[in-house]
Symmetry: D2
Subunit: 266 residues, 4 copies
């Protein structure tokens, strides 16, 4: 029976009644054992189960992003949290909380950019000038280039899976071609290319699979939460307490005013 | 080159060098396309890849726990967060942050209980008195009984997968038998049984697969983060701003002191 | 001795050496007992101690914003957190995390708007057309009007303190006059006025005192954290476990697909 | 009108009606300008306004704890958060979230310890054996000793304020005397004393003022949130993006398995 109060919390995602749990209409007991974890992620975000080929492509993207080491602030903050006497869930939350516009947003921004390219070429514009226009608007094009890796080792295996999926008719390849055109445009007239990075390659996959750009960040959060949890767990077993960012023997530099007395104030 | 500073952030989990990312020694480019997302979760938490049968069992447990509706405080808080002008990552973090000892800890507590039963029977004690002793120590035995479901619909399909895994020699079944003994003990002399719930059934799986009890909570966080993300995403598309817990037409009851003047204070 | 590592964490705010703590150069032992808590907030954010009159004005703004009841999502989420088996610090963090652009950002946006009006009139434009231009650009002018209060009871006492401060020469009143001009513009030709709300009145104070707009949100977070803590503490003593948004007797509406079987997928 | 739903969110703390906001019965417009921010903190946590002397003592404790530099994980995590593209509120939440049992819990634990000493001596036991018993139970007595400061510079000014308050009859001094007895017991037979630290000195104040031990952590969260905000704000103006824990030129050590091929798995 619907009331104003129960309607306030209405949802399309799950029906829960005594003895019954359905996710988008599917009984949970049918999903268990049949649907993979990645199928279920898709189901919860899209309302339908994916075909097996699409699910495998999503699986690869989620796998590729799980970790990039303890120098990422999300990972470092979660490791520090794990030494402060909070639960593992709080440590994971601390890491996820840091995956904001700058640290976790490049994939979403790249998806928006690819969507624009695909939309404009679909509307009749030529690919090269659209790409040139889009590239011109960015100082750093999100999803391309890496501060650390001359060529991100995750690029080639991910794009190779997308190419197979295109040739098998699983996805149509429009976003892949848009991303490759951006990559070519960025290489033109430079001594060093600016190849797609993990954010770009997963943006291609998520876009080809029909996810909204905002979910680019959402899916990255799920993926990186695995690394966040693993690092928090590793740190929690180390026995370190109240781990700061640098060894205890070091002292952060102080750059403020020299010592002074508190003045008399009326 | 190791220094005190670089050693402070040392990790067994991932090696990152220009052009190279290895997870527990495995090149990420080999994992992409070969390892499933769940394989990778296992690898990050255990340091080795699972066999395919163990991975499927973990997959079922992770799938079973993704969501139980918007009345869970973790889900409700994430939905409210999504209406407050923060990123999806902040909304997911808000949900994960609430999966504490009480809301997310029953699985971990059940794993500790099962570990005690298995250890003591392995050491020569008889199963029934050990179980009776363990049950007697709890007012509510974690992992058994459900406020809402007379019989949790996720119990049977999960335990059936464990039984298959035992018969195939994938796991040894000691924790399963311990949990079933607890269930029998709880049913004895009662009009209504107190069957295993999702926390109990997944505790059996995680324990059989050799995960530490603390990771029972960690794995639940990964699983439930899917539901948290899906609900936050659904809410963010609703257009609601600053969603409170009850409809705007209602006003929370006030139960404090009646109106009074601020007194003069010296 | 400065190194690349210690410089990475350099700060102007505090010098810590064995036996010594200085905040912006002031020995902490001189501050204790002399500086008020609000003085210290000011010192940490501005690098100097305020005069007593400025500090009292900031004090009033911080006091005014501490709480607006449990229907605010920040408060409700913190109360729910307090029932989930996490620390009070995690509950406060949950509340603060929700004070985003929409729930906690109106003050900052109002400060940016007032800064524009003051800057343009200082540059020679007339007040009324500048205000008309600024008002025209917003569907809802941040800091004005309240969904719930026809006239926010915090408006008058806060503005009256600003007016006293102007007449005593503590602040110059430019932002106050800008805000009053916006209020007049919003009242013109309407049956109901759209008076300044708490975000607007505190934006006037923070702006008059010279805080940057981003700190409008920061100061609100400090202020509202008091209410968040108080509500989390009240809830934690209630004994409720895993508090959802609506009473347990109610069930959220389900609006998704009807029950269906999981399909065969290749 | 009360209903099950509005009762679910009932509170003693605040009454909000159109045009009216009362905190524990006090009209907010009377509090603004009369009650200090610290008075209001007290009111929200205790339900009554403090006398001016008690409020000043609380003020000193809150002031003393605002910051201890960027090597505290709470501060470092908040600074890193501020470079990741999240709001200042999310950065503050990140810091508060880390003030758990280990990083923020010593004050609460010290208050529990002092409460036990006071209760047992009130019940007739002699002070010295009670203190000896309490000390014996701890490897590190919470609130005493400091890894970094031979003598915490905040100890003396805080205790001196408590002593004045005792001599003026503001507080009774039982918890102060308990803490001093612990300090004497810890010094006995050691070459170096183990003086009270900030957690101990503020625990004395909060206990003397009648706060519950759990609020020791809560008050510390409010106090340290000032430093967290100030550091997040300082970092956000630095222009650094995605700040990791150590300079970019350094690489965290890798201590896991050597490179290996992903094995064939059935």
């Amino acid at each position: 029976m619907s009331s104003e109060t129960t309607a306030w919390w209405s949802t399309d995602l799950v029906r829960v009644e005594p003895g019954k749990i359905e996710l988008s209409g599917y009984p949970v007991e049918q999903l268990i054992g049949d649907a993979s974890f990645v199928d279920t992620i898709w189901l919860m975000l899209r309302g339908e189960l994916p075909d097996r080929s699409s699910s495998r492509l999503l699986e690869a993207a989620l796998t590729a992003g799980v970790d990039h080491g303890p120098q990422a602030p999300s990972i470092a903050a979660a490791r520090m949290a794990a030494t402060c006497g909070v639960g593992l869930n709080n440590a994971v939350a601390t890491g996820a909380n840091l995956l904001g516009d700058v640290h976790g947003g490049a994939g979403q921004q790249c998806m928006e950019l690819l969507a624009e390219v695909v939309r404009r070429t679909r509307d009749g514009e030529d690919l090269d000038p659209v790409v040139a226009d889009v590239v011109r608007r960015h100082r750093y094009v999100p999803g391309f280039g890496h501060r650390f890796h001359p060529r991100d080792p995750r690029r080639d295996p991910l794009l190779s899976l997308v190419e197979s999926a295109v040739s098998e008719g699983v996805v149509d390849g429009h976003h892949l071609r848009a991303a490759q055109a951006v990559e070519r445009a960025l290489a033109r007239g430079r001594s060093k290319p600016v190849p797609m990075n993990i954010d770009g390659a997963t943006a291609v996959i998520y876009s080809e699979l029909g996810f909204a750009p905002e979910l680019g960040r959402g899916l990255f959060v799920l993926s990186r939460s695995v690394g966040v949890l693993a690092h928090a767990w590793e740190e929690s077993r180390s026995g370190t307490r109240i781990k700061g960012p640098i060894p205890r023997s070091l002292l952060a530099d102080y750059t403020g005013p020299e010592p002074r007395d508190v003045p008399h104030r009326d």
